[in-house]
């Protein structure tokens, strides 16, 4: 785990640096709020509805679900890729079967129109 330590330092500095600027600069920044400034931007008219009043389209959600499915597959791929030079033919066949199932699912999703936006 020791090799991860530098990352921790790195992340800490990476987070502290912007926060520090935000805090320090707050001392010199002007602050003159007014109602128009604090309203959400709506191209110059008063917003009749909040963005949170609407649901967003199910299509975005669909993409997210598909992503989760396929992304899990990629996670399986990486360890396989690392030891592939030891598995060779066995690994190839094994992964071919795995990918075949994956592609089947992919084709199914495509045919069902889940990948078409409009």
């Amino acid at each position: 785990m020791e090799s991860y330590l530098p990352i921790l330092y790195f992340a800490a500095v990476g987070a502290v640096f912007p926060i520090a600027i935000l805090v320090v600069m707050a001392l010199v920044r002007p602050k003159r709020p007014n109602p128009a400034k604090l309203a959400p931007y709506e191209c110059g008219v008063a917003a009749p509805t909040d963005a949170w009043d609407h649901r967003f389209s199910v299509r975005y959600y669909l993409i997210a679900v598909l992503f989760v499915v396929f992304d899990v597959e990629t996670v399986f791929l990486f360890p396989w890729a690392v030891v592939y030079d030891k598995l060779l033919l066995f690994g190839f066949v094994e992964m071919a079967v795995f990918l075949y199932i994956l592609v089947l699912g992919y084709v199914y999703v495509w045919k069902r129109g889940a990948l078409s936006w409009a």
Partner: protein
């Protein structure tokens, strides 16, 4: 009197020095210069001078810009989700900066310690998950954008946020599949190992050209730049997810984008263009180590230039076209590429 240091302390010190070095490179040197370079390159492409007043050749323009942004009023609209609104730019910027931790930026430098000479590898953290770490961080950056879009409680921001999330996750798949080919070749997820393999054999771009193309396009999409800047798309969504952001909070997104750009260029260089290596050149000793850093920097800069060039040349995709390209073109291509590489390696026995 000789200074004696315990082993862990020495390692920690080494890490700090390396972090400082990388930070100096990225934050102090590259990032401002990149903002300047972007504007000068766009000026060059667009037949105009670009910024040339602040400092020699306008080099201090970026510094002036960031200073200006720091001094600006920080407007937080009334109806936003305050916690997430504050957190979002941090979630974008920090991972973008931390990505550099696993990228080897040079071969190694000999350092004498306790009488013994040891080669210090020029990478901040040589972790065995290497590329997974990078994928994890780039996925984290999506959260920043999505949360910014949602917490702003503004319709353009919201649309920008959902666009970004769908776009980035779609291209991440193609990116993952195409990168797997590189690790089959190298037999390790460690980025130094990938570079060393390329140093010993061949730059990956040659045998895995298709993978390189898919990976490069996907990483363009990940960095949210034209032709993939749909989450900002100023003509449609005003400023997309950062419509409501001002002052330094906006600057954080801004710097995050550029830090991502540098990181993306560094990753492509490492995976496909041999990182710090040059074919047939052995980088040994102190001067060799420094030269390898220079090689790496030049390669990365070339990629950064490519990024800038593309941005000022191409139009932007439409949302559905972008998704179809990702799911129906690049994903199958990356499948195909992976199988082809695996088959080739299995057939050749190595």
């Amino acid at each position: 009197m000789t200074l004696t240091l315990s082993e862990p302390l020495f390692n920690a010190l080494l890490a700090v020095v390396k972090i400082l070095f990388v930070w100096a490179m990225t934050l102090a040197a590259l990032l401002p210069n990149l903002i300047w370079a972007e504007r000068r390159v766009s000026g060059l492409i667009q037949d105009r001078p670009g910024p040339n007043r602040v400092g020699p050749l306008g080099l201090f323009q970026a510094v002036a810009d960031v200073l200006k942004l720091m001094m600006k009023e920080d407007v937080v609209p009334l109806y936003v989700d305050k916690v997430l609104f504050t957190l979002a730019p941090l979630i974008t910027l920090t991972p973008a900066l931390v990505t550099f931790a696993v990228i080897p930026f040079g071969s190694s430098i000999p350092i004498t310690w306790n009488g013994a000479v040891r080669d210090v590898p020029l990478v901040i953290a040589d972790v065995n998950v290497g590329i997974l770490y990078i994928f994890a961080l780039t996925s984290l950056a999506v959260y920043g954008i999505v949360l910014a879009g949602w917490s702003s409680n503004d319709k353009y921001s919201l649309l920008g946020g959902v666009r970004a999330s769908a776009q980035i996750i779609s291209y991440e798949l193609a990116m993952g599949f195409s990168a797997a080919g590189v690790f089959i070749a190298a037999g390790s997820l460690r980025l130094p190992a990938v570079v060393e393999w390329q140093h010993a054999h061949l730059w990956n771009v040659v045998p895995q050209f298709l993978g390189f193309v898919v990976f490069a396009v996907a990483i363009f999409a990940e960095t949210n730049r034209i032709p993939f800047d749909l989450s900002e798309a100023e003509a449609e969504l005003v400023a997309g997810y950062h419509t409501e952001y001002s002052s330094f909070r906006f600057a954080m997104f801004f710097m995050g984008e550029y830090a991502n750009l540098i990181a993306a260029s560094a990753v492509v260089t490492t995976l496909y263009f041999g990182g710090w290596s040059l074919p047939g050149v052995a980088f040994t000793g102190l001067w060799g180590g420094l030269a390898s850093i220079a090689v790496f920097a030049v390669k990365t800069a070339a990629f950064i230039f490519l990024f800038l060039w593309v941005r000022w040349t191409l139009p932007r995709f439409r949302y559905d076209q972008l998704m179809e390209l990702g799911w129906k073109v690049f994903l199958p291509l990356s499948f195909f590429h992976l199988i082809a590489v695996a088959a080739f390696v299995a057939a050749s026995g190595r």
